[in-house]
Amino acid sequence: MYGYFRNFSIISNNTKRQIEEINPNIYIEFNLVGNCSVKRYYDVFAILNNLIINAIEACNDVNIINVKGQVLENLLIVTVLDNGICIEEDVLPYIFNVGFSTKFNEDTGAMSTGIGLCHVKNLTEDLGGTIAAESEINKCTKFTISIPISKL
């Protein structure tokens, strides 16, 4: 069983539907260059979904999310970029820690589990890849994932 990275349009259709429900002011664009076969599509799916949902939650009003997939030599490089609320510099080193979160339920006060990004990092590293996060205050936040195609 394997799929092709291009077939991930499932994700784009899915998230577009979600955005319509949550906040139609968010504009999301998908951009795929190149193609490769993906056996562990479930993991890639989970990684992308987590990052995109984070991006949606970071957006407040008229914001843009850009998801880009690129096959460069032997790497699949995926970036998820948003221009919503940024991650502050002193928090950035801790975002992949288990249990770290900035989110909580406004009604009940319950903290988010702080598992999402930790899970994304574990999955990426399990695929032999790397993940990096950058954030520029008042500009954008960018997550970059590179995974060797051979491991996909």
Partner: protein
Amino acid sequence: MEATFMIIDDDIAIGKILEQTIKKNQFGRVLSILTTGKNAKDTIIKLNPDIILIDLLLPEVDGIEIVKRAMDSGYQGKFIMISQVEEQEMISNAYKSGILFYINKPINMIETISVISNVKKQVELEQSISVIKNIIFPETIQKTEEVKKEVQQSISEKLLQIFSDIDIVGTSGADELKLVILRIIDKKEMHPSKPYQLKEIYMEVAKELYGNMLATINCKSMEQRIRRTIGKSMNAVANLGLENLNNNIYMKYSSSLFEIKQIKQEMEHLKDLSVEQGKINTKKFIEGILVKVLN
């Protein structure tokens, strides 16, 4: 009023969440986040924050013990305990030790925010009352100030003793060296796990001494003066060793502040001035002094 905070939790993720909460709600400034109970009491006394958020279960020294020790040493701020312990007895022990509130983990944000906010109100109230008290009864000047000074004084005294042992008292480099060392101690207390950059410390001290405008120019020459001072101390220690290898001061400082090979070299130089001098290692020298001062 801006309140000051300190957070003690072995899970840095929790520490950061609490710091963010304090920042976002504009409760005040977080002076330090510690991840172990070791030295926590000393840091509390030194920084004297208004409010401390503390975990119960901590490596080295547990939360209740820290609360007791800090209060015994004259700390008068407020403790909020945040922990996962559900055993009623431990929670009541925590209250008996002097905490103001106990918050259960996993954290409930609404609970945490309102507890911090209420404790902050209490701090503000007490501070206003103390201001009024000080006007009416000026002789009751707070004891905490004295305790804080005592810790700093003992470090200064130890430094002076070391400087007099290695014969650099009174040189201009020695005074600057002292400021550099005190600043490093401050840094280590605020961020125990973060390594310090000597260059940055020099720059900060230079700014303190010469102001922002002239700091860069003076920083280099200050570094030179400090190096010369350390060189002078090496010379003094080597001189003592030359006379008698069992000299107390030689034995105490030769290997802790200098590289032993270099101090031997300096002794050769003293015997025969045509031989090259021993080289100093500023970082090793400062680390050596830190070990002596902080223990």
